[in-house]
Each structure stands twice: as structure tokens, then as C-alpha cells.
């Protein structure tokens, strides 16, 4: 039976996954330590926005006044040197309200501005309803969030109801974290649906045939299983038409995964994709 998470569970799940991946994936520790500190600020911003319920028309000013100072503080306290110096430099020349408005409008902006805006706007949009999300700019098509028009950050396959089923595919929004259904064999960036043009990169030993099982949802005989796969539940979904990619997370393979966190920590896959000339449809909060 599908379990519906409450708002508080969502933040607890993100914290849990950060701790799990931090212990398991040492290469991402610097990122996850910082994201863990940022999560505390975002959760507080989420709860305050839910309680204050600012008017949708005041979204940008509310975020700039109430949330940005905390995001700046945690960035200066726990962020890497370059982030700290860039944040200080940008705030000397640019008011946060402009950064927030550009992110909400979907305009191009420098990476540090975008980081500050994303980190501050995200939890507030998650807390507020459809009216606030509807004020955000961006196309309302199959490849963008139907709620806020934001671009897709990641792709995930839901955990199926039984072992012989495959869960549907969803895209998760980079702006408000909402999810929407999207066809499996279709590029999330340009809509290409010719399988000859869609390339998937995954670690050896992660398909059922390589695990010694003819049924995807069942364990194999273990003979061919690679126990040292770093990302057994993840793959790079690349498109040769638009030369872009998105990371995919399979919740059937790892039901404990939290797509938002797992995607952020999968830097080796990002490096691999970029080495092959693909660029990400949307870089994540940490700039990868």
C-alpha cells in the first residue's frame, strides 16, 4: 500500500537520507555536511511560511525579508570558501529581492544568485499552496512543472505495488519540488522519444539479467551481482538530440532513497555525463 508522507515526514526523510549517504558515500561528505546544515534552515523556513501563510503576491518580498538572511548566515557559517566570498560579494552589489524575483520569473542569473534564491524560495513554495506556485513564471507544458512552471531537476521511478510491476516515471521540479508524471522513454529536456537517440548510462551489474534474475523485481542468484556498485539505483538518462541529461532514481531498487538528496550526492555521475559531452537539463542546488 502506498504511504503518504506528511510535511514533517518529508523533512525528516531528507535528514535521514543525508545521514545515510554521508556515512556511505564519503566523496559527497563536503556537500552533504553543508546541505544538512542548510536543511535545518529550510525546514524552519517551511514551518514559518506554513504558519504565516503570506499572500501569494508577497512571495518574493516575504522570502527576501524572512528567509534569505538565514540562508546567508548558514552559507557563511558552513559553506566552502568560494561560496562565502561570492555571497558576500553579490550582496554588496545586488539586493536579494531582485535575485528572488528573477528566480521566480525563470530568468537567467549568476550561479550564486540562483543558489541563494533557490535555497530560500524552495521551502516557502513547498509550504504554500497552488496560488503561490501559479505566480511563478515558466511554460506549463509536459516538460515543466504543472504547478509552478519550473524545469525538471531529476527523474524517478516510483516503487511498484508488487514484484512483477514497474512503477511510473515522475519528474521532480527544481523550483517547488512538486512531481508530475512523464513518459518513460522520452527525453525530459526536448521530448525526443526515439529510443535510438536516448542513451542510458548505468553501472555494470545493476540490471536484472546481470544479477542472474529474469524477473526485474526479484533477486537473482547473486553469482553475477556486483556488491560494490556505488549507484545501483541510479542512472544517467541522456539524449543525443539535445545533448542534455537528467539523473534517474529507481525507488524499486532502493526504496530508502530520497530522490532530491540522492541526486545531489551523485556527483560522480554528473562528472561522467559531462565528460561525454552532455549538459544537465537543470543544475541542482549545489551547482552540479
Amino acid at each position: 500500500m502506498a504511504v503518504t508522507l506528511t510535511a514533517n515526514d518529508v523533512w525528516a526523510e531528507r535528514r535521514r537520507r543525508v545521514a545515510e549517504l554521508r556515512a556511505r558515500q564519503g566523496f559527497a561528505r563536503q556537500l552533504l555536511d553543508f546541505y544538512g546544515a542548510l536543511l535545518a534552515v529550510q525546514e524552519k523556513a517551511f514551518q514559518e511560511a506554513a504558519a504565516a501563510s503570506p499572500a501569494a503576491a508577497d512571495l518574493a518580498s516575504y522570502v527576501a525579508e524572512v528567509v534569505v538572511p538565514s540562508v546567508v548566515d548558514v552559507s557563511l557559517f558552513a559553506g566552502p570558501d568560494r561560496l562565502r566570498s561570492e555571497v558576500i560579494h553579490r550582496l554588496e552589489t545586488e539586493h536579494p529581492l531582485g535575485m528572488i524575483e528573477r528566480w521566480i520569473a525563470g530568468d537567467e542569473q549568476p550561479i550564486v544568485d540562483r543558489y541563494l534564491a533557490r535555497a530560500a524560495v524552495g521551502p516557502v513554495l513547498e509550504a504554500l499552496g497552488a496560488e503561490a506556485r501559479a505566480r511563478c513564471g515558466g511554460p506549463r507544458d509536459a516538460r515543466h512543472c504543472p504547478a509552478c512552471g519550473g524545469p525538471p531537476q531529476l527523474s524517478y521511478s516510483a516503487s511498484p505495488m508488487d514484484d512483477l510491476a514497474t512503477g511510473p516515471r515522475f519528474l521532480a521540479c527544481a523550483r517547488c519540488a512538486a512531481s508530475w508524471g512523464y513518459p518513460r522513454l522520452t527525453c525530459a529536456g526536448c521530448g525526443e522519444d526515439s529510443s535510438a537517440r536516448l542513451q542510458i548510462f548505468s553501472e555494470h551489474g545493476t540490471t536484472s539479467g546481470e544479477r542472474g534474475s529474469v524477473v526485474r523485481g526479484l533477486p537473482g542468484d547473486g553469482a553475477a551481482r556486483r556488491k560494490d556498485a556505488v549507484f545501483p539505483h541510479m542512472r544517467i538518462e541522456a539524449c543525443e538530440s539535445c545533448r542534455r541529461y537528467i539523473l534517474g532514481i529507481d525507488l524499486a531498487t532502493d526504496p530508502a532513497a530520497v530522490p532530491l538528496v540522492d541526486e545531489m550526492a551523485a556527483v560522480p555521475l554528473d562528472l561522467y555525463a559531462r565528460e561525454r559531452g552532455f549538459s544537465k537539463i537543470t543544475t541542482n542546488l549545489m551547482g552540479f
Partner: protein, 198 residues
């Protein structure tokens, strides 16, 4: 087309600027990048393709997604088959038989040649396709000749074969079904059934 001439010095300047721009795009998680680069170099990653297919078994016609990989010798390796979650027919689900469809291609116990058990024999033996086709043709001819009816009980001319029935498989395409029906009607068969779908 005239290509611009780039000196070695200019090339190095452009390269250095590009590298600087790349570094400047990051938020400074240099340690994570360095560690991830080391991990990336050890990953055994391979490219695969996902392809649409249809289950070959029953008349429901469930949609499948097949994962394949091009091997270094040029052959294609089948890695995984699962239900297509976007299909309105099965919505990602498969029955226990369809879920094992991969065995049709990869099972080591797959029977790879025709098996023949002669009348009165107790064991099967492997035979050639030529033998089987000749044998089937001979049996059809013998049964047709033995059971062909030219007139019914009232003296009406019917010219039909009552000794053979034909059942078409679920995996028949429309064209194959049409061809099979034409062939069997040509032999005079009247007992025809077809598990048609695709």
C-alpha cells in the same frame, strides 16, 4: 571555407580562459569534486538502450520495456525486460509468465531444435527443421486425403476437410493471420480459431 589560424600561444590562452570559466561556475565544493572524480574513474559504467516491445504470450498484448547493450563484438545483449508503465494495457504490470519473457532469449534450458517422438516411441529426439517440415506436410496431406468430404448427407457439394483443426497463436500479426487463414481454407479446413490481438 577558410578556417581561422590559431597559434599555439592563442590556443593555450583560450584553453586557460575556458578552464577558469568552468571553475568559476562552481560554488566551491572542490573537495567533493576531487573525491567524486576519483570515484568516477573507478565506476564501471556502460551505455544501454531501452526499447518498446510486446509480450509474445497471450492475447492481452502487454507492453514491455527491453534493456539492451551493444557488446564489443557488435552483438546485442539483452539485459532486462519489464512491464511498460506507460502502457494503457498493463500499466507496468506483467503476469508471472510475461515477467519471465527474457527466458525466451537467454534461458540455458531453451530447446534449440525441433523434437520428434515417433508413433509408439517413448522418447523425444532432436531432428532437423527439414525433417519436421516434410513430416508435417506429409501428415497434413494424409489427414486431409483421409477426411476430405465432397458431399454432405443431403448430397450437397461441400468439398471440406473435417479431419484437421487449426488454431492460430496469440503472437500472430494481422498479415500472418490472413496468410494462415488463406492457406487453411485452401486445404478445405472449416475448424479455424485464432487468438488474435496485435
Amino acid at each position: 571555407m577558410v578556417l581561422p589560424t590559431v597559434t599555439r600561444r592563442e590556443f593555450l590562452k583560450v584553453g586557460a580562459a575556458g578552464a577558469g570559466a568552468l571553475a568559476a561556475t562552481g560554488l566551491g565544493f572542490d573537495l567533493a569534486v576531487a573525491e567524486s572524480t576519483r570515484v568516477k574513474q573507478k565506476l564501471r559504467i556502460a551505455g544501454t538502450k531501452e526499447l518498446h516491445s510486446v509480450c509474445p504470450y497471450c492475447a492481452v498484448g502487454c507492453s514491455l520495456v527491453a534493456y539492451t547493450r551493444q557488446k564489443s563484438d557488435g552483438t546485442t545483449e539483452l539485459l532486462q525486460i519489464e512491464g511498460d508503465p506507460d502502457s494503457p494495457v498493463n500499466e507496468g504490470r506483467l503476469c508471472p509468465k510475461g515477467a519471465t519473457a527474457m527466458q525466451l532469449a537467454v534461458s540455458p534450458r531453451r530447446v534449440e531444435s525441433p523434437q520428434y517422438r515417433a508413433a509408439g516411441a517413448t522418447a523425444w529426439k532432436s531432428v532437423s527443421w527439414d525433417f519436421v517440415l516434410d513430416k508435417v506436410a506429409q501428415n497434413i496431406k494424409a489427414s486431409r486425403d483421409a477426411s476430405f468430404v465432397t458431399t454432405d448427407g443431403n448430397g450437397n457439394i461441400v468439398n471440406r476437410c473435417e479431419g484437421i483443426a487449426f488454431a492460430g497463436g496469440a503472437a500472430f500479426s494481422s498479415e500472418e493471420g490472413y496468410f494462415a487463414t488463406k492457406l487453411m481454407r485452401g486445404l478445405g479446413l472449416v475448424h479455424l480459431e485464432q487468438q488474435a490481438r496485435v
